[in-house]
Every structure is written in structure tokens, then in C-alpha cells.
Amino acid sequence: MNPRTLPLLATLGVFLLAYALCALQFPAMLSTRVVANLLTDNAFLGIVAVGMTFVILSGGIDLSVGSVIAFTGVFLAVTIRAGLDPVAGFILVLAITTAFGAVMGAMIHYLETPPFIVTLAGMFLARGVCFLMTTDSIPIDHPVYDTLTGLSWRIPSGGRLSLIGGVMVLVFIAGIVLAHRTRFGTAVYGLGGNRTSAELMGVPVARTTILIYALSSGLAGLAGIVFSLYTSAGYSLAATGVELDTIAAVVIGGTLLTGGVGTVAGTFLGVMIQGLIQTYVIFDGTLSSWWTKIVIGGLLFAFIVFQRGLVHMAARRREAARLATGMPVVSPAG
């Protein structure tokens, strides 16, 4: 078996086991209504997580996504209140957030700085701009919003797949195609595997880095649109800490934090596991919501240790293979 699919299988196993345990205790968890709500409630998280998967696959990190979501929501609320058509607002805000990500990517590449500090600055900047636009929570009341939130596809037996849940599924499918079936996807995996080798093999490092962060911020903008449809409001303190939930979802989904190994499909499972824990807390009724954080932290720890074990085993297997074939040691100086 390919060891690279092992993390994905482990995530799938955890998800199925957790769902089975939940369903044993609350048989209602099996209804399509719960499944459809799982998709709707986690739509914005899933969309950002696709972008974050690409960032982490390339060996980087993006801390600005939560602030970008809040910025998008506030921007839409303020411009719609000022009389802008929501559809024009959507296009404008997607352009702004994508450009924002491209600038961060350019800084990371050309200034040779760690992604975490550049995106930290981006996080402060986006949140600060939100606060400057307004510190209030502004409701969005527009016919277009009513139409969009009303759209849903009725699944037999009662569930409703809302528009935003559908958008998330589409983004995941697009992400899977982009990661595994395009030149850009290969370049991302190459960068994360070994930057120097990728560069020597002709991967356009500058363009790919800028595109990765533009994609991440652009998807955060899309998530912001979805979030504003979900809450029908714009609030500058919204979506704090979403960057951490997103990183956790990507890691639980089996993507190696060192970059180069992972799948977009795994991230989907990571998001669903988080959603499942929240749903369980709601079904139980007596548990406090902070148990969600503790369980997610525990899972994060378990998966990281599991990944370290896999990397360690792979290194030992390579070493054993090298000794068996009697290949000479390649010294860096030689």
C-alpha cells in the first residue's frame, strides 16, 4: 500500500468511527437533514480550508484568512447599505481579496521572509481596515440576499442542501482537480517537497508563490461572501480564530505541515470531523462549546504525532533500502 494514502485512510477511519459512535447515541444523526446542515454550517470553513491546503502543501502558512473573511463581510455590508448592487459587490470584493493575497505572496517571495510574519501583518491590516469601516454589526437586507439564501436543493427524506453548502462542495471538487490534474498543482507539490529542487527543475517559483497566496485570499473572500449570506450581516469582529480552525482541519485531513504531501479531499474530511464534534456538542446539550476546542486540540496532537511516526518510518525504510542496494552515501560536499 502507498504510505502516502495512509494519513487519508486514518482520517477517513476517524470520521466514520466518530460518526458511528454519534449515530449509536443519537440515531437522528443519520438523517439527511443533519448531513445537509453539516455542509451548510461549515461551508465558509471548508472554502477557506481548500485555499489553506494549497498554502500548507507549498510549505507555507496563511494567518490572514479570518481577517479577510471579516473584511469581506464588512465591505459587503457597508457597500450594500450605500446602495451598491450585491453582485457587483461580490465581484469587487473577490478582486480586492485576490490582489491582497498576491501582494502578500510577492512579499514572501521577493523579501524572502517567513510566510507566517507576512500573513500576520496581513491579518492586522485586514482587521484594522474592517474596524475603520465600522465597528458595528451591520445587517444586510437586500432582495438578492433573500433570493440567494432561499435557494436550496431538497434531498429526498427531508434534508436541504443550501446554496452555500453546494458552493463549498463545488470549491472542493475544483480544488481536487487543481491540485492533482494541473501544472499549477504539480508546481505546488514540488515547492513543498523541496524548493531548491523544484526551482532547478524549472518550476516558476515566484509566479507559483504569488498565485498560491492569491488563491488562498481569494477563497477567503469567497468564504466571506458565503459567511455574509449565512449570517446576513457584516461584523468586524467576526471569524476571529478561523485561521486556526482551518489549519487544524488541513492537518487533521492528513496534509503534512512540512509541505509536499497531502490531499484536498482529506481536508474535506478534516472540516467534516470538526463539524461533527460541534454537532455532537449541540445534540448532547449538556456539554459546553469549549469541549469542541479541547477535542480538536487533542485530535490535532494525535494526528501530528501520527504523521511524525510515518515520516520517521519512511526515512528508516529508505535507509534500509539504501544499505541493501549498497548505494554510496552522497555527501553534500562531493
Binding site: 521572509t113 510574519i117 496581513g122 484594522g128 501530528i304
Partner: protein, 334 residues
């Protein structure tokens, strides 16, 4: 050479001290009473003292963060550890325990958190940003567990004195911050510890081969960071006479990282100064106070911070230093 070592930081400190002076000067321009100090009941009052007092928790966090960043790591969990330590202290205070018991318990909790981070980084070889992310996600949940989901308040004289009392006219938090910074700076500069930390930050593998016990030094750096977070948590709890698990120390990890970066410690590891990080923390607080005094919305803070990070990144970047070499007159080039 051996004598010069402790004083080596002095000429290098010029940009930070100039920045601090400049920010203070700007504050004086917008608020002419800025430097007014008055002595009342044996205690100094004034905006300048206020800057030091409000900046003290971040200054204390910055001490440990400096050591961690010098090893090429980062500690994202300090804000959450503050919340846990504050929750433990407030709960014990509400139960009427004596001050030494409260302080020791809070410090023990901070030390345990630091050791946990250190073991994840040094023994399990997990990237620092992710290793400390686990505690950052889980920490607030744990703090909620301690306070049982409530904001615990107390009227414990001893604990209130931690932030409320004064020594030699200075508020206690300022005294604690300066004492801890002096102690830590002496420890790393008058012993080989600072050298070992720098060696690990520059190249951990090389340092290990050269005989540095990099595991112990790394664990010690994270332990110091955890202890500092516990002290800052005690001050924060004492300041509001209660423990708020959701908001205590929220986003302070970012301020602490910013303070260290403003202080000139390299994010690429290897070059650090604890005393300059202290100056960095007070620069940040002076900017906050200045924005408040000048009547601009406090939300401007985030944008100012983002601009500062970007400027420092540009100045510190390898690209800028290449540019400097390029622009230097030919005769001084080697």
C-alpha cells in the same frame, strides 16, 4: 572581547532607542502633558508611567518569546497560557488560599505548559508554530474547564496587590517586568547560555554536532516562555480582579512577537537581545497610548502595527542587505 560581550548590544540598540524617542516625541506633540509626572501617595502618576504599566505584560511575554525566536522557533500559546494561569490564580484566590500558594500554582501551570511545548518541539521534532498551535487552540478550553465556564472574580488582597501595589513609586507590573528582564538578560549574557541559544538558532544540526545539548536548551527556552506567560497571566487577572478565560491575553502572542521583531531579534534565529525586546514592547504600547491620546479611533492600532511589521520586514530582508552591498562605494567593498 570577553568583557565587551555584555555591552555589545549598546551601539546596535540605536534604531530601537531612536524609535522609542520618536514615538514619545510624537505623543508629546499631540498631547503636551505627556511627560508630566506627579507623585501622589508615594506613587508616580502620568502618561509615561501608564505606558510602562500597560506595556508590562507584553514586555514580560517578550522575554520568553525572544529566547524562543532566537532558537528559530515561535510560541503561539502564550496568550492561552496567560488565560490558564489567570484562571488557576483566580479560582484559588476565590477559595481563599494564600498568595504564595496562588503564585506558585500559577507558575507551576505555566512551567508545565512550557515544558509540554518544549518537548513537542525538541523531542518529537514538530515545527514550533504547529506544536504551540495545539496549546493555543486547546488552552482557552482548558481555562474554561478551570473556571467552569464562568468569569471568576475575587477580592483577595494579596493577589490584587500583584498589579495594584507599587515599589519605589513605580507600579508593581513595571517592577516585575524590569526585574525579570534584567535577570534573564544577565543569565544569557554572563553565562554561555546565550551563545548556545544563538548556535541552535543559526543551525541546530551543526550545534548538536558541536556538542550543544540542543534538546535541553530548547526545552528550557519554551519553559521560560511558559513561566513568563504565567506571570503575565497573574498580572492580567490581578488587574481586572478576575479571570476571563475567553479574553485574557487574547492576541497578546502577536504583540509579543511584534515586540521581539521591533527589538531587532532576527526571525531567522541566532541574533537576539532581551533588553531591546523590552524596548520594543514599550514602543508598541507608546504607539497605542499615542493613538488613544490623539483622539484617533483605537482601531487604527492594527493598521499602524501592520505597517510597522512591513517596514521592518523590508529593512531586515536579505534582498535589502544585498541592495545595500550593491549600493556601497566600490572602495569599501571586499
Amino acid at each position: 572581547m570577553t568583557l565587551a560581550r555584555p555591552f555589545r548590544a549598546l551601539p546596535a540598540a540605536t534604531p530601537q532607542i531612536l524609535t522609542f524617542a520618536l514615538v514619545l516625541f510624537a505623543n508629546w506633540l499631540v498631547f503636551p502633558d505627556f511627560f508630566d509626572l506627579r507623585l501622589q501617595d508615594g506613587r508616580l502618576f502620568g502618561s509615561l508611567i501608564d505606558v510602562l504599566n500597560r506595556g508590562a505584560p507584553v514586555a514580560i511575554l517578550a522575554i520568553g518569546m525572544t529566547l524562543v525566536i532566537a532558537t528559530k522557533g515561535v510560541d503561539l500559546s502564550v496568550g492561552a497560557v496567560m488565560a490558564i494561569a489567570g484562571a488557576v490564580a483566580a479560582t484559588l484566590a476565590a477559595d481563599g488560599h494564600s498568595l504564595p500558594v496562588i503564585v506558585l500554582a500559577a507558575l507551576a501551570v505555566g512551567l508545565a505548559c512550557g515544558l509540554w511545548n518544549g518537548i513537542l518541539v525538541a523531542v518529537l521534532d514538530i515545527q514550533p508554530i504547529i506544536a504551540t498551535l495545539i496549546l493555543m487552540v486547546t488552552g482557552r478550553g482548558i481555562a474554561q474547564l478551570v473556571t467552569e465556564g464562568q468569569i471568576v472574580t475575587f477580592t483577595h488582597e494579596g493577589l490584587i496587590a500583584v498589579a495594584g501595589a507599587s515599589l519605589l513609586g513605580l507600579p508593581m507590573p513595571v517592577v516585575i517586568a524590569f526585574a525579570l528582564a534584567g535577570l534573564a538578560a544577565a543569565l544569557v549574557r554572563f553565562t554561555a547560555l546565550g551563545l548556545l541559544i544563538e548556535a541552535i538558532g543559526i543551525n541546530r544540526t551543526a550545534a548538536t554536532y558541536a556538542g550543544v545539548d540542543s534538546r535541553s536548551v530548547l526545552i528550557a527556552a519554551y519553559a521560560v516562555s511558559g513561566l513568563g506567560a504565567a506571570v503575565a497571566g497573574l498580572i492580567a487577572a490581578s488587574d481586572i480582579r478576575g479571570a476571563d478565560a475567553n479574553n485574557a491575553g487574547l492576541w497578546l502572542e502577536l504583540d509579543a512577537i511584534l515586540a521581539v521583531v521591533v527589538g531587532g531579534t532576527s526571525l531567522f534565529g541566532g541574533r537576539f537581545s532581551i533588553l531591546l525586546s523590552l524596548v520594543g514592547a514599550f514602543v508598541i504600547q507608546a504607539m497605542n497610548t499615542g493613538i488613544l491620546l490623539s483622539g484617533y479611533p483605537p482601531e487604527m492600532n492594527l493598521i499602524v502595527k501592520a505597517t510597522v511589521i512591513v517596514l521592518i520586514l523590508i529593512v531586515q530582508s536579505p534582498a535589502a542587505s544585498r541592495m545595500k552591498t550593491f549600493l556601497r562605494p566600490p572602495e569599501s567593498r571586499r
